[in-house]
Protein backbone atom coordinates (compact mmCIF):
# COMPACT_ATOMS: atom_id res chain seq x y z
CA UNK A 1 0.00 0.00 0.00
CA UNK A 2 1.25 3.49 -0.75
CA UNK A 3 2.39 5.66 2.15
CA UNK A 4 -0.44 7.86 3.34
CA UNK A 5 1.12 9.89 6.12
CA UNK A 6 -0.60 10.55 9.43
CA UNK A 7 -3.94 9.34 8.07
CA UNK A 8 -2.70 5.76 8.39
CA UNK A 9 -2.75 6.18 12.17
CA UNK A 10 -6.46 6.94 11.96
CA UNK A 11 -7.00 4.09 9.53
CA UNK A 12 -5.21 1.45 11.59
CA UNK A 13 -7.44 0.64 14.60
CA UNK A 14 -8.64 -2.62 13.02
CA UNK A 15 -5.44 -4.08 14.40
CA UNK A 16 -6.81 -3.77 17.95
CA UNK A 17 -8.07 -7.25 18.91
CA UNK A 18 -11.31 -7.77 20.80
CA UNK A 19 -12.58 -4.20 20.36
CA UNK A 20 -16.34 -3.79 20.29
CA UNK A 21 -17.71 -2.84 16.85
CA UNK A 22 -14.18 -3.24 15.51
CA UNK A 23 -13.57 -1.24 12.35
CA UNK A 24 -12.97 -3.60 9.45
CA UNK A 25 -10.58 -3.01 6.57
CA UNK A 26 -12.52 -1.70 3.59
CA UNK A 27 -11.38 -1.15 0.01
CA UNK A 28 -13.28 0.08 -3.05
CA UNK A 29 -11.87 -0.95 -6.42
CA UNK A 30 -12.50 -0.14 -10.03
CA UNK A 31 -12.32 -3.46 -11.92
CA UNK A 32 -11.62 -3.88 -15.65
CA UNK A 33 -10.27 -0.31 -15.55
CA UNK A 34 -7.03 1.12 -16.85
CA UNK A 35 -7.68 4.26 -14.76
CA UNK A 36 -10.18 5.07 -11.94
CA UNK A 37 -13.71 5.75 -13.13
CA UNK A 38 -13.55 3.70 -16.31
CA UNK A 39 -14.47 0.24 -15.01
CA UNK A 40 -16.97 -1.41 -12.70
CA UNK A 41 -16.76 -0.45 -8.99
CA UNK A 42 -16.51 -3.13 -6.30
CA UNK A 43 -16.74 -2.77 -2.51
CA UNK A 44 -14.72 -5.21 -0.39
CA UNK A 45 -14.75 -5.82 3.37
CA UNK A 46 -11.43 -7.57 3.96
CA UNK A 47 -12.23 -9.03 7.39
CA UNK A 48 -15.90 -9.93 7.48
CA UNK A 49 -15.77 -12.58 10.23
CA UNK A 50 -18.58 -12.00 12.70
CA UNK A 51 -20.88 -10.26 10.23
CA UNK A 52 -24.11 -12.20 9.72
CA UNK A 53 -25.91 -12.52 6.39
CA UNK A 54 -28.37 -9.73 7.20
CA UNK A 55 -25.53 -7.33 8.04
CA UNK A 56 -23.67 -8.16 4.82
CA UNK A 57 -26.85 -7.54 2.85
CA UNK A 58 -27.46 -4.25 4.69
CA UNK A 59 -23.88 -3.07 4.05
CA UNK A 60 -24.13 -3.96 0.34
CA UNK A 61 -27.44 -2.07 0.12
CA UNK A 62 -26.00 0.96 1.91
CA UNK A 63 -22.87 1.08 -0.27
CA UNK A 64 -25.15 0.90 -3.37
CA UNK A 65 -22.41 -0.57 -5.60
CA UNK A 66 -23.32 -3.20 -8.18
CA UNK A 67 -21.50 -5.74 -5.96
CA UNK A 68 -19.76 -5.89 -2.58
CA UNK A 69 -17.62 -8.85 -1.49
CA UNK A 70 -16.92 -10.05 2.06
CA UNK A 71 -13.73 -11.99 2.83
CA UNK A 72 -14.03 -14.92 5.24
CA UNK A 73 -11.61 -17.65 6.35
CA UNK A 74 -11.54 -20.35 3.64
CA UNK A 75 -12.25 -24.04 4.05
CA UNK A 76 -9.53 -26.60 3.23
CA UNK A 77 -8.63 -26.61 -0.45
CA UNK A 78 -9.20 -22.88 -0.93
CA UNK A 79 -6.86 -19.91 -0.45
CA UNK A 80 -9.55 -17.34 0.33
CA UNK A 81 -13.32 -17.27 0.58
CA UNK A 82 -15.74 -14.55 -0.47
CA UNK A 83 -19.47 -13.94 -0.31
CA UNK A 84 -20.84 -11.70 -3.06
CA UNK A 85 -23.83 -9.37 -2.53
CA UNK A 86 -25.67 -6.97 -4.80
CA UNK A 87 -27.75 -4.27 -3.06
CA UNK A 88 -30.70 -6.70 -3.25
CA UNK A 89 -29.40 -10.28 -2.98
CA UNK A 90 -26.48 -12.72 -2.63
CA UNK A 91 -24.88 -14.11 -5.80
CA UNK A 92 -23.24 -17.55 -6.09
CA UNK A 93 -20.65 -16.16 -8.54
CA UNK A 94 -19.94 -13.02 -10.53
CA UNK A 95 -16.98 -12.16 -12.75
CA UNK A 96 -15.94 -8.65 -11.78
CA UNK A 97 -16.17 -9.29 -8.01
CA UNK A 98 -14.06 -12.43 -8.41
CA UNK A 99 -11.35 -10.68 -10.45
CA UNK A 100 -11.31 -7.88 -7.85
CA UNK A 101 -11.20 -10.39 -4.98
CA UNK A 102 -8.22 -12.28 -6.44
CA UNK A 103 -6.42 -8.95 -6.89
CA UNK A 104 -7.16 -7.98 -3.27
CA UNK A 105 -6.18 -11.39 -1.88
CA UNK A 106 -2.77 -10.98 -3.52
CA UNK A 107 -2.09 -7.28 -2.89
CA UNK A 108 -3.37 -7.21 0.71
CA UNK A 109 -1.65 -10.43 1.80
CA UNK A 110 -4.91 -12.34 2.37
CA UNK A 111 -3.54 -15.32 0.44
CA UNK A 112 -0.22 -16.35 -1.09
CA UNK A 113 -0.28 -17.57 -4.68
CA UNK A 114 1.55 -20.88 -5.31
CA UNK A 115 3.18 -20.97 -8.73
CA UNK A 116 0.96 -18.02 -9.63
CA UNK A 117 -2.22 -19.86 -8.70
CA UNK A 118 -4.96 -19.21 -6.15
CA UNK A 119 -8.19 -21.05 -5.43
CA UNK A 120 -11.23 -18.91 -4.68
CA UNK A 121 -14.06 -20.30 -2.59
CA UNK A 122 -17.49 -18.76 -3.19
CA UNK A 123 -21.07 -20.01 -3.05
CA UNK A 124 -20.68 -21.49 -6.57
CA UNK A 125 -17.77 -23.65 -5.40
CA UNK A 126 -13.99 -23.57 -5.89
CA UNK A 127 -12.62 -21.54 -8.79
CA UNK A 128 -8.98 -21.29 -9.86
CA UNK A 129 -7.40 -17.88 -10.39
CA UNK A 130 -4.02 -17.04 -11.92
CA UNK A 131 -1.85 -14.18 -10.73
CA UNK A 132 1.05 -12.86 -12.77
CA UNK A 133 3.38 -9.89 -13.00
CA UNK A 134 4.18 -7.24 -10.38
CA UNK A 135 2.88 -8.46 -6.97
CA UNK A 136 1.81 -4.88 -6.14
CA UNK A 137 -0.14 -4.50 -9.40
CA UNK A 138 -0.75 -8.07 -10.48
CA UNK A 139 -2.57 -9.22 -13.56
CA UNK A 140 -5.48 -11.53 -12.73
CA UNK A 141 -7.18 -14.28 -14.72
CA UNK A 142 -10.08 -16.25 -13.33
CA UNK A 143 -11.64 -19.37 -14.78
CA UNK A 144 -15.30 -18.69 -15.38
CA UNK A 145 -17.90 -21.36 -14.61
CA UNK A 146 -18.68 -23.35 -17.79
CA UNK A 147 -21.14 -21.59 -20.06
CA UNK A 148 -23.78 -23.62 -21.82
CA UNK A 149 -26.21 -22.93 -24.60
CA UNK A 150 -29.80 -23.21 -23.36
CA UNK A 151 -32.65 -24.56 -25.42
CA UNK A 152 -34.83 -21.46 -25.60
CA UNK A 153 -36.65 -19.53 -28.27
CA UNK A 154 -36.18 -15.76 -28.27
CA UNK A 155 -39.66 -15.11 -29.70
CA UNK A 156 -40.12 -11.55 -30.86
CA UNK A 157 -37.13 -9.29 -30.20
CA UNK A 158 -37.54 -5.65 -29.12
CA UNK A 159 -37.62 -3.67 -32.38
CA UNK A 160 -34.37 -1.75 -32.03
CA UNK A 161 -32.45 -4.95 -31.21
CA UNK A 162 -33.94 -6.78 -34.20
CA UNK A 163 -32.88 -3.85 -36.41
CA UNK A 164 -29.17 -4.11 -35.61
CA UNK A 165 -28.91 -7.91 -35.29
CA UNK A 166 -26.49 -9.44 -37.81
CA UNK A 167 -28.40 -11.47 -40.37
CA UNK A 168 -27.62 -15.18 -40.40
CA UNK A 169 -26.51 -15.39 -36.76
CA UNK A 170 -28.83 -16.90 -34.18
CA UNK A 171 -30.06 -15.10 -31.09
CA UNK A 172 -28.99 -17.56 -28.36
CA UNK A 173 -29.58 -17.86 -24.62
CA UNK A 174 -26.44 -18.86 -22.70
CA UNK A 175 -25.91 -19.36 -18.99
CA UNK A 176 -22.96 -19.60 -16.58
CA UNK A 177 -25.07 -18.79 -13.53
CA UNK A 178 -26.78 -15.68 -14.88
CA UNK A 179 -28.34 -16.24 -18.30
CA UNK A 180 -27.80 -13.78 -21.14
CA UNK A 181 -29.31 -13.54 -24.58
CA UNK A 182 -26.40 -13.08 -26.97
CA UNK A 183 -26.93 -11.05 -30.13
CA UNK A 184 -24.28 -10.26 -32.71
CA UNK A 185 -24.70 -6.71 -34.05
CA UNK A 186 -24.14 -6.01 -37.73
CA UNK A 187 -21.50 -3.41 -36.92
CA UNK A 188 -19.76 -1.84 -33.93
CA UNK A 189 -20.87 1.63 -35.10
CA UNK A 190 -24.54 0.60 -34.90
CA UNK A 191 -23.98 -1.09 -31.55
CA UNK A 192 -22.33 1.99 -30.02
CA UNK A 193 -25.09 4.28 -31.37
CA UNK A 194 -27.93 2.07 -30.13
CA UNK A 195 -30.47 3.89 -27.92
CA UNK A 196 -32.04 1.02 -26.02
CA UNK A 197 -35.72 0.96 -25.07
CA UNK A 198 -35.28 -0.38 -21.52
CA UNK A 199 -39.00 -0.97 -21.06
CA UNK A 200 -39.17 -3.22 -24.12
CA UNK A 201 -35.95 -5.04 -23.16
CA UNK A 202 -37.17 -5.62 -19.58
CA UNK A 203 -40.44 -7.03 -20.90
CA UNK A 204 -38.63 -9.38 -23.28
CA UNK A 205 -35.94 -10.62 -20.87
CA UNK A 206 -38.47 -11.11 -18.06
CA UNK A 207 -40.83 -13.02 -20.39
CA UNK A 208 -37.95 -15.32 -21.41
CA UNK A 209 -36.53 -15.66 -17.85
CA UNK A 210 -33.17 -14.14 -18.84
CA UNK A 211 -30.91 -11.94 -16.69
CA UNK A 212 -30.44 -9.63 -19.65
CA UNK A 213 -29.22 -9.28 -23.20
CA UNK A 214 -25.62 -8.78 -24.33
CA UNK A 215 -24.79 -7.49 -27.81
CA UNK A 216 -21.37 -7.75 -29.42
CA UNK A 217 -19.66 -6.73 -32.64
CA UNK A 218 -16.18 -7.21 -34.04
CA UNK A 219 -14.22 -3.95 -33.90
CA UNK A 220 -10.61 -3.52 -34.92
CA UNK A 221 -8.61 -1.27 -32.61
CA UNK A 222 -5.12 -1.35 -31.16
CA UNK A 223 -6.52 -2.04 -27.68
CA UNK A 224 -9.48 -4.37 -28.29
CA UNK A 225 -11.08 -6.68 -30.84
CA UNK A 226 -14.71 -6.80 -29.72
CA UNK A 227 -17.27 -4.18 -28.66
CA UNK A 228 -19.87 -5.27 -26.08
CA UNK A 229 -22.95 -3.75 -24.45
CA UNK A 230 -25.06 -5.50 -21.80
CA UNK A 231 -28.61 -4.54 -20.78
CA UNK A 232 -30.35 -5.98 -17.72
CA UNK A 233 -33.23 -3.56 -16.97
CA UNK A 234 -35.50 -6.41 -15.87
CA UNK A 235 -32.97 -7.70 -13.34
CA UNK A 236 -31.49 -4.44 -12.00
CA UNK A 237 -33.85 -1.49 -12.37
CA UNK A 238 -31.25 1.02 -11.17
CA UNK A 239 -28.47 -0.27 -13.47
CA UNK A 240 -30.32 -0.92 -16.77
CA UNK A 241 -27.05 -0.97 -18.73
CA UNK A 242 -24.16 -2.68 -16.97
CA UNK A 243 -20.84 -0.82 -17.42
CA UNK A 244 -18.61 -3.91 -17.59
CA UNK A 245 -19.95 -7.45 -17.33
CA UNK A 246 -17.71 -10.43 -16.59
CA UNK A 247 -20.35 -13.16 -16.96
CA UNK A 248 -21.74 -11.89 -20.29
CA UNK A 249 -18.25 -11.48 -21.76
CA UNK A 250 -17.34 -15.03 -20.72
CA UNK A 251 -20.46 -16.36 -22.46
CA UNK A 252 -19.70 -14.41 -25.64
CA UNK A 253 -16.20 -15.95 -25.64
CA UNK A 254 -17.69 -19.44 -25.14
CA UNK A 255 -20.10 -18.89 -28.03
CA UNK A 256 -17.42 -17.53 -30.40
CA UNK A 257 -15.15 -20.45 -29.46
CA UNK A 258 -17.94 -22.93 -30.25
CA UNK A 259 -18.43 -21.27 -33.62
CA UNK A 260 -14.68 -21.15 -34.31
CA UNK A 261 -14.81 -17.36 -34.67
CA UNK A 262 -12.69 -16.13 -31.72
CA UNK A 263 -11.04 -12.79 -32.52
CA UNK A 264 -7.48 -11.91 -31.48
CA UNK A 265 -4.66 -14.42 -31.37
CA UNK A 266 -4.14 -17.82 -29.72
CA UNK A 267 -7.59 -17.72 -28.16
CA UNK A 268 -6.95 -14.35 -26.48
CA UNK A 269 -8.76 -11.10 -27.11
CA UNK A 270 -9.87 -7.91 -25.33
CA UNK A 271 -13.46 -6.67 -25.20
CA UNK A 272 -14.38 -2.98 -24.86
CA UNK A 273 -17.49 -2.16 -22.85
CA UNK A 274 -19.02 0.86 -21.11
CA UNK A 275 -18.04 3.78 -23.36
CA UNK A 276 -21.70 4.63 -23.95
CA UNK A 277 -21.99 5.15 -20.17
CA UNK A 278 -18.91 7.35 -19.93
CA UNK A 279 -16.72 4.40 -18.85
CA UNK A 280 -14.04 2.61 -20.83
CA UNK A 281 -13.90 -0.90 -19.46
CA UNK A 282 -11.60 -3.58 -20.86
CA UNK A 283 -12.05 -7.28 -20.27
CA UNK A 284 -9.30 -9.72 -21.23
CA UNK A 285 -10.69 -13.06 -22.43
CA UNK A 286 -8.91 -16.31 -23.10
CA UNK A 287 -10.23 -19.73 -24.09
CA UNK A 288 -7.86 -22.57 -23.13
CA UNK A 289 -7.27 -25.97 -24.73
CA UNK A 290 -10.07 -27.51 -22.64
CA UNK A 291 -12.51 -24.89 -23.87
CA UNK A 292 -12.64 -23.12 -20.50
CA UNK A 293 -13.00 -19.34 -20.55
CA UNK A 294 -10.68 -17.22 -18.43
CA UNK A 295 -11.54 -13.58 -17.69
CA UNK A 296 -9.20 -10.91 -16.44
CA UNK A 297 -8.36 -7.28 -16.49
CA UNK A 298 -6.71 -4.37 -14.76
CA UNK A 299 -7.78 -3.30 -11.29
CA UNK A 300 -7.49 0.17 -9.70
CA UNK A 301 -7.65 0.68 -5.94
CA UNK A 302 -9.60 3.92 -5.38
CA UNK A 303 -10.71 3.95 -1.73
CA UNK A 304 -8.85 2.36 1.18
CA UNK A 305 -9.67 2.61 4.85
CA UNK A 306 -11.96 1.11 7.43
CA UNK A 307 -15.65 0.36 7.70
CA UNK A 308 -17.62 0.74 10.95
CA UNK A 309 -20.92 -1.13 11.04
Amino acid sequence: MPACGPWCILAAPWAVPGAIAMPRRYVQLDVFASRPGTGNPLGAVLDAEGLDTASMQAIAAWLNLSETVFFLPPDAGADYRIRIFTPGSELPFAGHPSVGAAWLATTHGLATPRDGRLVQQCAAGLLPAEVHGDPLRPGIRLRSPRGRLLDASPGTLPAELATIAQAGHAVELWSNGPSWWLIEAASAEQLRRLQPDFGAIAGWTNATSATGVALFAFETSSAHQLAVRAFCPGDAVNVPEDPVTGSANALIAARLHREGRLPGQAGRYVASQGRELGRDGRVALQVDAEGDVWIGGEVQQVIAGTLDW
Partner: protein, 294 residues
Protein backbone atom coordinates in the same frame (compact mmCIF):
# COMPACT_ATOMS: atom_id res chain seq x y z
CA UNK B 1 -0.44 14.04 -4.51
CA UNK B 2 -3.51 12.07 -5.41
CA UNK B 3 -4.32 10.55 -1.99
CA UNK B 4 -7.16 12.52 -0.47
CA UNK B 5 -8.90 11.97 2.85
CA UNK B 6 -12.28 10.40 2.23
CA UNK B 7 -15.28 9.63 4.44
CA UNK B 8 -18.62 7.95 3.77
CA UNK B 9 -21.22 8.86 6.38
CA UNK B 10 -24.78 8.01 7.23
CA UNK B 11 -26.52 11.33 7.88
CA UNK B 12 -29.60 11.90 10.08
CA UNK B 13 -28.78 8.57 11.71
CA UNK B 14 -27.43 7.41 15.05
CA UNK B 15 -26.52 3.97 13.69
CA UNK B 16 -25.06 2.89 10.36
CA UNK B 17 -27.72 2.05 7.79
CA UNK B 18 -30.50 4.20 9.28
CA UNK B 19 -29.96 7.48 7.43
CA UNK B 20 -29.00 8.98 4.11
CA UNK B 21 -25.52 8.08 2.78
CA UNK B 22 -23.03 10.79 1.81
CA UNK B 23 -19.48 10.71 0.43
CA UNK B 24 -17.08 13.49 1.44
CA UNK B 25 -13.71 14.24 -0.14
CA UNK B 26 -12.06 16.24 2.62
CA UNK B 27 -9.24 17.81 0.63
CA UNK B 28 -10.56 18.49 -2.84
CA UNK B 29 -8.05 21.16 -3.88
CA UNK B 30 -6.74 20.53 -7.38
CA UNK B 31 -9.76 18.56 -8.60
CA UNK B 32 -11.54 20.20 -11.53
CA UNK B 33 -15.30 20.19 -12.18
CA UNK B 34 -15.14 17.18 -14.49
CA UNK B 35 -13.17 15.14 -11.96
CA UNK B 36 -15.62 16.00 -9.16
CA UNK B 37 -18.53 14.97 -11.36
CA UNK B 38 -16.76 11.73 -12.31
CA UNK B 39 -16.08 10.88 -8.66
CA UNK B 40 -19.71 11.65 -7.70
CA UNK B 41 -20.88 9.35 -10.46
CA UNK B 42 -18.47 6.61 -9.42
CA UNK B 43 -19.45 6.60 -5.70
CA UNK B 44 -23.07 5.86 -6.71
CA UNK B 45 -24.36 7.72 -3.63
CA UNK B 46 -27.16 10.32 -3.68
CA UNK B 47 -24.59 13.07 -3.12
CA UNK B 48 -20.82 13.51 -2.87
CA UNK B 49 -19.32 16.68 -1.41
CA UNK B 50 -15.91 18.27 -1.95
CA UNK B 51 -14.35 20.40 0.76
CA UNK B 52 -12.24 23.40 -0.29
CA UNK B 53 -10.67 26.31 1.59
CA UNK B 54 -13.19 29.08 2.40
CA UNK B 55 -13.43 32.18 0.20
CA UNK B 56 -15.16 34.57 2.60
CA UNK B 57 -13.29 35.84 5.65
CA UNK B 58 -15.57 34.42 8.29
CA UNK B 59 -16.32 31.04 6.64
CA UNK B 60 -14.73 27.84 7.98
CA UNK B 61 -14.90 25.90 4.70
CA UNK B 62 -16.26 25.86 1.18
CA UNK B 63 -18.44 23.02 -0.06
CA UNK B 64 -19.40 21.81 -3.52
CA UNK B 65 -22.20 19.25 -3.76
CA UNK B 66 -22.60 16.81 -6.66
CA UNK B 67 -25.26 14.22 -7.39
CA UNK B 68 -24.20 11.46 -9.82
CA UNK B 69 -25.62 13.65 -12.62
CA UNK B 70 -24.97 17.29 -11.78
CA UNK B 71 -23.79 19.89 -9.30
CA UNK B 72 -26.43 20.84 -6.71
CA UNK B 73 -26.52 24.43 -5.35
CA UNK B 74 -27.74 23.41 -1.89
CA UNK B 75 -28.93 20.30 -0.11
CA UNK B 76 -29.47 19.72 3.60
CA UNK B 77 -28.00 16.29 4.28
CA UNK B 78 -24.72 16.95 2.40
CA UNK B 79 -24.17 20.22 4.31
CA UNK B 80 -24.86 18.58 7.69
CA UNK B 81 -22.86 15.44 6.91
CA UNK B 82 -19.85 17.37 5.61
CA UNK B 83 -19.76 19.45 8.81
CA UNK B 84 -19.76 16.26 10.90
CA UNK B 85 -16.90 14.86 8.80
CA UNK B 86 -14.87 18.05 9.20
CA UNK B 87 -15.22 18.00 12.99
CA UNK B 88 -14.41 14.26 13.18
CA UNK B 89 -11.21 14.86 11.21
CA UNK B 90 -10.26 17.93 13.28
CA UNK B 91 -10.25 20.07 10.15
CA UNK B 92 -12.59 22.76 11.48
CA UNK B 93 -13.30 24.26 14.89
CA UNK B 94 -16.70 25.78 15.71
CA UNK B 95 -16.64 29.48 16.60
CA UNK B 96 -19.18 30.22 19.34
CA UNK B 97 -20.87 26.93 18.42
CA UNK B 98 -21.07 27.63 14.68
CA UNK B 99 -19.36 26.58 11.46
CA UNK B 100 -19.91 28.69 8.35
CA UNK B 101 -19.88 27.10 4.90
CA UNK B 102 -19.31 28.87 1.59
CA UNK B 103 -21.12 27.45 -1.39
CA UNK B 104 -23.15 28.21 -4.50
CA UNK B 105 -26.18 29.04 -2.31
CA UNK B 106 -24.09 31.61 -0.44
CA UNK B 107 -22.70 31.62 3.06
CA UNK B 108 -24.67 29.42 5.44
CA UNK B 109 -24.16 28.92 9.18
CA UNK B 110 -24.20 25.47 10.79
CA UNK B 111 -25.04 25.18 14.48
CA UNK B 112 -23.10 22.53 16.42
CA UNK B 113 -24.67 21.12 19.62
CA UNK B 114 -23.55 18.29 21.90
CA UNK B 115 -20.46 16.12 21.57
CA UNK B 116 -19.35 12.67 20.45
CA UNK B 117 -22.13 10.35 19.36
CA UNK B 118 -24.68 12.85 20.73
CA UNK B 119 -23.46 15.67 18.52
CA UNK B 120 -26.03 17.24 16.22
CA UNK B 121 -25.41 19.80 13.50
CA UNK B 122 -28.13 21.91 11.89
CA UNK B 123 -27.82 24.07 8.81
CA UNK B 124 -29.78 27.24 8.22
CA UNK B 125 -31.74 26.44 5.09
CA UNK B 126 -32.46 28.90 2.29
CA UNK B 127 -35.81 30.66 2.81
CA UNK B 128 -38.69 28.53 1.54
CA UNK B 129 -41.79 30.19 0.10
CA UNK B 130 -45.34 29.10 -0.43
CA UNK B 131 -45.68 28.83 -4.19
CA UNK B 132 -49.28 27.74 -4.47
CA UNK B 133 -52.01 26.43 -2.17
CA UNK B 134 -54.22 23.86 -3.87
CA UNK B 135 -57.23 21.71 -3.14
CA UNK B 136 -57.10 17.88 -3.06
CA UNK B 137 -59.37 17.67 -6.13
CA UNK B 138 -56.96 19.80 -8.21
CA UNK B 139 -56.62 17.93 -11.50
CA UNK B 140 -52.82 17.81 -11.22
CA UNK B 141 -52.94 16.33 -7.69
CA UNK B 142 -56.05 14.15 -7.76
CA UNK B 143 -54.41 10.92 -8.97
CA UNK B 144 -51.32 11.29 -6.78
CA UNK B 145 -53.53 11.75 -3.69
CA UNK B 146 -56.18 9.20 -4.64
CA UNK B 147 -56.91 6.69 -1.87
CA UNK B 148 -55.07 8.67 0.80
CA UNK B 149 -56.93 9.87 3.87
CA UNK B 150 -55.89 13.53 4.11
CA UNK B 151 -55.36 15.74 7.15
CA UNK B 152 -56.72 19.23 7.76
CA UNK B 153 -54.08 21.43 6.08
CA UNK B 154 -54.48 21.88 2.31
CA UNK B 155 -51.90 20.57 -0.20
CA UNK B 156 -49.24 23.19 -0.97
CA UNK B 157 -46.39 23.67 -3.44
CA UNK B 158 -43.33 24.92 -1.52
CA UNK B 159 -40.16 26.32 -3.05
CA UNK B 160 -36.99 25.97 -1.00
CA UNK B 161 -34.54 25.80 -3.90
CA UNK B 162 -36.13 22.54 -4.97
CA UNK B 163 -39.94 22.54 -5.21
CA UNK B 164 -42.08 19.98 -3.35
CA UNK B 165 -45.80 19.30 -3.08
CA UNK B 166 -46.65 18.84 0.61
CA UNK B 167 -49.77 16.98 1.68
CA UNK B 168 -50.89 16.23 5.23
CA UNK B 169 -52.25 12.74 5.92
CA UNK B 170 -54.79 11.95 8.63
CA UNK B 171 -52.49 9.97 10.93
CA UNK B 172 -49.19 8.08 11.14
CA UNK B 173 -50.73 4.68 10.33
CA UNK B 174 -52.19 6.08 7.12
CA UNK B 175 -48.77 7.53 6.25
CA UNK B 176 -46.81 4.34 6.97
CA UNK B 177 -49.23 2.25 4.90
CA UNK B 178 -49.50 4.67 1.98
CA UNK B 179 -48.86 3.07 -1.43
CA UNK B 180 -47.45 5.73 -3.75
CA UNK B 181 -49.08 6.00 -7.15
CA UNK B 182 -45.78 6.37 -9.01
CA UNK B 183 -47.20 7.16 -12.44
CA UNK B 184 -49.23 10.02 -10.99
CA UNK B 185 -46.27 11.27 -8.92
CA UNK B 186 -43.96 11.29 -11.95
CA UNK B 187 -46.62 13.17 -13.90
CA UNK B 188 -47.11 15.66 -11.06
CA UNK B 189 -43.35 16.26 -10.77
CA UNK B 190 -42.96 16.84 -14.50
CA UNK B 191 -46.10 18.96 -14.89
CA UNK B 192 -45.18 21.30 -12.02
CA UNK B 193 -41.37 21.24 -12.28
CA UNK B 194 -41.23 19.87 -8.76
CA UNK B 195 -39.41 17.00 -7.06
CA UNK B 196 -42.68 15.20 -6.34
CA UNK B 197 -44.93 14.50 -3.38
CA UNK B 198 -43.96 14.87 0.29
CA UNK B 199 -46.55 13.53 2.74
CA UNK B 200 -46.54 14.14 6.50
CA UNK B 201 -48.64 13.16 9.51
CA UNK B 202 -48.67 13.93 13.25
CA UNK B 203 -47.33 11.17 15.47
CA UNK B 204 -47.90 10.20 19.10
CA UNK B 205 -44.39 8.77 19.34
CA UNK B 206 -42.37 10.22 22.26
CA UNK B 207 -39.27 10.75 20.07
CA UNK B 208 -40.65 12.39 16.95
CA UNK B 209 -43.54 14.77 16.35
CA UNK B 210 -44.12 14.14 12.64
CA UNK B 211 -43.61 11.15 10.37
CA UNK B 212 -42.93 11.98 6.71
CA UNK B 213 -42.33 10.25 3.37
CA UNK B 214 -40.76 11.84 0.29
CA UNK B 215 -41.76 10.41 -3.11
CA UNK B 216 -39.37 11.76 -5.73
CA UNK B 217 -40.91 11.68 -9.21
CA UNK B 218 -38.18 13.52 -11.15
CA UNK B 219 -35.42 13.32 -12.26
CA UNK B 220 -35.46 9.72 -10.98
CA UNK B 221 -38.26 7.79 -9.32
CA UNK B 222 -37.59 6.70 -5.73
CA UNK B 223 -38.57 7.19 -2.12
CA UNK B 224 -35.96 9.30 -0.34
CA UNK B 225 -34.61 7.99 2.97
CA UNK B 226 -33.99 11.36 4.65
CA UNK B 227 -34.67 14.75 3.08
CA UNK B 228 -33.17 17.71 4.94
CA UNK B 229 -34.32 20.49 2.63
CA UNK B 230 -37.81 19.05 2.01
CA UNK B 231 -38.39 18.82 5.74
CA UNK B 232 -37.30 22.45 6.02
CA UNK B 233 -40.02 23.48 3.57
CA UNK B 234 -42.51 21.63 5.79
CA UNK B 235 -41.34 23.62 8.82
CA UNK B 236 -41.75 26.85 6.85
CA UNK B 237 -45.26 25.79 5.80
CA UNK B 238 -46.24 24.92 9.39
CA UNK B 239 -44.87 28.29 10.54
CA UNK B 240 -46.86 30.06 7.82
CA UNK B 241 -50.06 28.37 9.05
CA UNK B 242 -49.29 28.87 12.74
CA UNK B 243 -49.29 25.09 13.04
CA UNK B 244 -45.74 24.64 14.39
CA UNK B 245 -45.51 22.36 17.41
CA UNK B 246 -44.87 24.22 20.65
CA UNK B 247 -42.16 22.04 22.09
CA UNK B 248 -39.49 22.56 24.73
CA UNK B 249 -35.98 23.04 23.33
CA UNK B 250 -37.31 24.97 20.35
CA UNK B 251 -37.13 22.06 17.93
CA UNK B 252 -39.15 19.06 16.83
CA UNK B 253 -38.06 15.75 15.36
CA UNK B 254 -39.25 14.00 12.23
CA UNK B 255 -39.09 10.28 11.44
CA UNK B 256 -38.42 9.30 7.81
CA UNK B 257 -37.30 6.35 5.74
CA UNK B 258 -38.66 3.29 7.57
CA UNK B 259 -40.64 2.23 4.52
CA UNK B 260 -37.39 2.00 2.50
CA UNK B 261 -35.41 0.12 5.15
CA UNK B 262 -33.97 3.16 6.90
CA UNK B 263 -34.83 4.92 10.16
CA UNK B 264 -33.76 8.54 9.99
CA UNK B 265 -34.40 11.25 12.57
CA UNK B 266 -34.26 14.87 11.42
CA UNK B 267 -34.37 17.85 13.78
CA UNK B 268 -36.10 21.05 12.72
CA UNK B 269 -36.19 24.42 14.43
CA UNK B 270 -37.20 27.98 13.59
CA UNK B 271 -35.24 30.91 14.94
CA UNK B 272 -36.41 34.39 15.95
CA UNK B 273 -35.88 35.67 12.40
CA UNK B 274 -38.15 32.97 11.02
CA UNK B 275 -35.30 31.00 9.46
CA UNK B 276 -35.57 27.20 9.42
CA UNK B 277 -32.69 25.03 10.66
CA UNK B 278 -32.52 21.41 9.59
CA UNK B 279 -30.11 18.91 11.06
CA UNK B 280 -29.29 15.82 13.03
CA UNK B 281 -26.61 13.32 13.88
CA UNK B 282 -24.30 11.41 11.55
CA UNK B 283 -22.13 8.30 11.79
CA UNK B 284 -18.93 7.73 9.83
CA UNK B 285 -19.10 4.32 8.11
CA UNK B 286 -16.08 4.37 5.76
CA UNK B 287 -12.97 6.33 6.79
CA UNK B 288 -9.89 6.34 4.63
CA UNK B 289 -8.38 7.78 1.48
CA UNK B 290 -9.47 8.27 -2.10
CA UNK B 291 -6.88 7.86 -4.85
CA UNK B 292 -8.10 9.64 -7.99
CA UNK B 293 -5.44 10.78 -10.45
CA UNK B 294 -5.36 14.58 -10.72
Amino acid sequence: MSQRRYVQLDVFASRAGAGNPLAVVLDAEGLDDAQMQAIAKWTRLPETTFVLPPVSDDATHRIRIFSPRREVPFAGHPSVGTAHALLDAGLAVPRDGFLVQDGIAGKLPLKVSGEGSERTIAVRTPRARVQEIATPDDSRLRDALAGLQLGTLPPVLMDGGRRWWLAELANETELRNAQPNWNAIVELANATESMGLFVYARSDDPVYYYAVRAFVGAPAQFEDAASGAANATLAAWLAERGALPDLPGGFYRVSQGREVGHDAIIELSIDADGDVWSGGRAVAVVTGTLDWPG
